[in-house]
């Protein structure tokens, strides 16, 4: 029977192809070794595991329009995508995914990441760098009464628990700071104008600003006790308060809290709104360790930037220049002389890694739009491995149970179905590998489930064959009829479920998409194994035992 021979050949060829597709192979991969990423060859089964199985981090970033609306979103997103991609590439993760989703989102997938917080920081940091001169005109002192009034009108006040201490805290602050304040005045703020030296009007007692802020060590710097921080911060975000900030000035918080012992303080800075230069003119940034300054980031400016920087810093010698990253003041050193092309940012107590990360984001450039995290999924590698183990165990148990049921009930025919099931498993997995589909935990569950459903078609056929045999048909006839009659129902099932699967793929997210893909692959494979493969097995058996009048079914 030539026909039969081709059938067998086709099945065998497909099986061989499946085994080949699933055979562990050597692939070049970025792997982490002793904390460094290197390219290496590894042996593994070419099935892609989703983040929920191998551990890692999924981030959905979204254009943040809470502060200002973005005019050309799609263009901004494209540029942001480029920046994020460059940062991720330099960050060093094996097989990261950075892709656009919708019109205002970027999806970042970082498999096997172990320091999620740092990764998040590197990806999300706007890295918008500004150099701004601190205010020397005591503009805030003059505006403080007005600010107090507005804060009161807006109902912003220090939380009840904190107010009790608020009287004490500023005193402590001033005690702490008077000393340094005076010394500092001698060295750096000596050149303050007569205008600013004039005594500012006495602030009303009890106002939010007047009772909670104290001038800091350098002009334009103000100290707030930690307890009053939330209220002041809220006030500084309030549009009515912002409108009363002296024109041409902006207020920015410092990055860290200061002070020692139990009393903690925050600093904010009043700065010239117009930056001298921004990060756009930066051409390079490198981390370095300076024996005196600690960890620093050294940067280089382009020609135009260098020229502007030199003129501006020349004008402001002895003034303080705040280095502002993403609207937070990193440091505000005193300018000793004009600075040209090369400068450095001192990180204070920052680690070398912090310097590396800062240099990295500055090099990749600022994000053209602020991005916020819209979704995070983070799964530990051990949990992923645990899921794989449990999934495999349930798969094995499901297969064993199904084999027991099929052989126990249908005997010889059941054994043929089991053989078809083995082929089914191989075909399905090979399809997943071939399409580079991602195997997720729900996908694994879908695969286990599909083992139970895959023999469905066989059951349908076998029951039909039994009926035909009961009706007195010959074995060959019964088999023919059984397959013929069961066909339409089998196709129906598959079509109905494939439709569901496709819809699910369209609307689902990562893990559920994995499920949909597994489901669809499983159904296609089971159509083939039930209709074609098991029939071939029956035909083979009929061929081998001509004239047989009994079938063990």
């Amino acid at each position: 029977m030539a026909n039969l021979k081709y059938r067998v050949l086709l099945i065998a060829a497909l099986f061989a192809a499946s085994v080949w597709a699933l055979f562990p192979r050597t692939v070049v991969e970025r792997v982490k070794r002793d904390g460094v990423f290197v390219y290496d060859t590894v042996q593994r089964v070419p099935l892609k595991r989703g983040l929920d199985l191998q551990g890692g981090m999924h981030l959905t970033l979204e254009i943040d329009e809470s502060k200002q609306s973005v005019a050309n979103k799609s263009e901004a997103l494209d540029r942001a995508l480029k920046v994020v991609r460059q940062r991720i590439d330099e960050f060093g993760v094996s097989e990261p995914v950075v892709q656009k989703a919708g019109e205002d989102r970027i999806i970042v997938e970082l498999p096997g990441i172990d320091d999620a917080e740092r990764a998040e920081d590197v990806v999300q940091k706007s890295a918008f760098l500004e150099f701004q001169i601190t205010d020397e005109t005591q503009a805030l002192e003059r505006a403080v009464a007005r600010l107090d009034e507005i804060a009161k009108a807006q109902g912003i006040q220090v939380a009840a628990a904190a107010t009790a201490d608020s009287g004490k805290a500023p005193t402590m602050a001033s005690a702490l700071l008077t000393q340094t304040d005076s010394t500092k005045k001698d060295t750096t703020v000596a050149g303050t104008t007569a205008d600013s030296a004039a005594k500012p009007p006495a602030p009303p007692v009890g106002g939010l600003f007047s009772s909670n802020i104290q001038p800091g060590q350098i002009p334009g710097q103000y100290i707030v006790p930690e307890k009053a921080f939330p209220a002041i911060d809220a006030a500084l975000r309030n549009p009515a308060v912002l409108a009363a900030v002296p024109p041409g000035k902006v207020i920015r918080w410092g990055v860290d809290s200061l002070g020692s012992g139990t009393e903690r303080f925050r600093a904010f800075y009043v700065l010239d709104a117009r930056p001298i230069i921004t990060g756009e003119v930066l051409t390079d940034a490198r981390p370095n360790t300076d024996p005196v300054e600690g960890n620093v980031v050294q940067f280089t400016l382009n020609n135009e930037g260098a020229r502007r920087f030199k003129t501006e810093t020349g004008k402001h010698v002895k003034d303080n220049m705040a280095i502002v990253l993403d609207q937070k003041v990193i440091t505000a050193p005193t300018l000793q002389s004009a600075i040209g092309r090369n400068g450095q940012i001192t990180l204070g107590g920052g680690s070398l890694q912090a310097a590396q990360d800062l240099a990295l984001v500055l090099r990749a450039g600022a994000l053209p739009v602020p991005l916020k995290v819209a979704e995070v999924r983070e799964i530990g590698a051990s949990l992923g491995q645990d899921s794989i183990n449990k999934g495999l165990l349930s798969l094995v148990v499901a297969v064993v149970l199904v084999i027991a049921i099929m052989i126990g009930y249908y005997r010889f025919a059941g054994a043929l179905a089991v053989l078809a099931l083995v082929l089914y498993l191989a075909y399905t997995l090979a399809m997943l590998a071939g399409f580079q589909a991602v195997l997720t935990l729900p996908g694994l569950a879908g695969f286990v489930l599909s083992v139970g459903i895959a023999v469905d078609a066989n059951v349908l056929i076998f029951e039909r064959i039994r009926e035909e045999l009961d009706a007195g048909k010959s074995v060959r006839m019964a088999i023919e009829e059984g397959f013929r009659h069961a066909m339409s129902a089998i196709v129906d099932t598959s079509v109905a479920t494939i439709l569901s699967g496709m819809v699910l793929y369209q609307y689902g997210t990562g893990p559920v998409r994995g499920f949909a893909v597994t489901l669809i692959a499983g159904l296609v494979a089971s159509l083939f194994t039930a209709i074609f493969v098991s029939k071939t097995f029956f035909l083979l058996w009929l061929d081998r035992s001509r004239g047989t009048q009994t079938l063990s079914i």
Binding site: A374, E378, G391, L393, V448, E463, D492, S500, V503, L504
Partner: protein, 330 residues
């Protein structure tokens, strides 16, 4: 030949009142609990908020976990044991928490992590899983899931309607809708957390249950074609159900075997999925017998086919032109 339920002759259809009572009671119970407790237990991906799966070195005092979170400003967190005694899930998703995530989804999880580290000591708490979803993404996933359910149901229903003549189609459609309703009631009664994975289970069920009905109706059609003389439609229905009974039992046994393996062995994350699937296997069996059948009978009695061989033949050929006739037949 080992045979179960062979040549049975159960009178399934005459029990339809009992079956209808049961299923209506079940759905009603679901609706009542829905009315009382309000809403469905949606997962983090739908509500927005933060879920953290935390592993403690030794079984922690839940009250301490709660007070730690409260002190950190994470009020109203749901703390639940998850599997073993040292594993807990923390869900922070009251209004304040979700709102805070509009500015950035990661904030709350960082606060929780830091607070736990401080209270229990670094190294004694491991965060094994974090899911933080901003409110906008949550709303989108919710509408996405709803759309998916709607479209998938619609596709299935359209497919069923095309596949059979309108009477069968209508019966199959109603029976499948019934399955979805009952599954919702089940989810509500057991307070199963509805995640995207559970939605996936419901959609899989949709296909599975439609398939069951298709197989029985195929047999009914075949038996009608054979022209069983003098047999009422309910008799034919009963016969068809009895004839397909071994098949139903066997396919459900294999599917159930796989489902139970998942339920018992695949771990906490997959359990809701497996529960819905396991329940669905029973519902599919039940509805293909007790819902699809009686509804078909009811439709047939309301809009009877023309008597005689001509009518039967036309019916067997699924004559689509018949669609217009019932109005006059009334």
């Amino acid at each position: 030949m080992l045979r179960i339920f062979h040549k049975t002759n159960y009178g399934f259809i005459r029990w339809w009142r009992v079956a209808a009572g049961l299923t209506i009671a079940f759905i009603a119970a679901g609706l009542v609990t829905f009315g009382i407790t309000g809403g469905v237990n949606y997962s983090i991906e739908f509500t927005g908020g933060t879920l953290m799966q935390v592993q403690f070195k030794e079984a922690p005092d839940v009250a301490k976990v709660r007070s730690t979170l409260d002190a950190a400003g994470i009020t109203g967190a749901e703390i639940q044991q998850f599997g073993s005694a040292t594993e807990y899930t923390i869900r922070a998703r009251d209004e304040k928490q979700v709102e805070a995530q509009a500015a950035g989804a990661e904030g709350v999880s960082k606060a929780i992590g830091a607070a736990l580290d401080q209270a229990f000591g670094q190294g004694n708490v491991t965060i094994v899983r974090t899911e933080a979803v901003g409110p906008r993404v949550g709303a989108e996933l919710r509408s996405g899931a709803a759309t998916a359910m709607l479209i998938a149901s619609l596709f299935t229903l359209i497919y069923l309607a095309i596949r059979f003549d309108w009477r069968f189609g209508m019966a199959a459609v109603l029976s499948t809708s019934h399955d979805i309703l009952v599954t919702f009631a089940f989810i509500k009664l057991l307070n199963i957390e509805v995640s995207l994975t559970v939605v996936a289970a419901i959609l899989t069920l949709l296909g599975y249950s439609a398939n069951d009905t298709i197989i029985i109706f195929d047999r009914v059609r075949e038996n009608l074609k054979k022209g069983a003389k003098g047999q009422s439609l309910s008799g034919i229905l009963d016969r068809s159900i009895n004839e397909t009974l071994p098949r139903s039992i066997m396919t459900h046994a294999t599917t159930l075997a796989a489902t139970v393996a998942l339920l018992v062995l695949a771990g906490e994350v997959i359990r809701p999925f497996a529960m819905v699937m396991a329940f669905g296997v029973f519902v599919a069996t039940f509805s293909s017998i007790y819902v699809a059948g009686p509804i078909l009978l009811w439709i047939e009695s309301k809009y009877p086919r023309e008597a005689g061989a001509k009518g039967r033949a036309a019916l067997a050929e699924q004559a689509p032109v018949r669609g217009g006739r019932p109005a006059t037949a009334r």
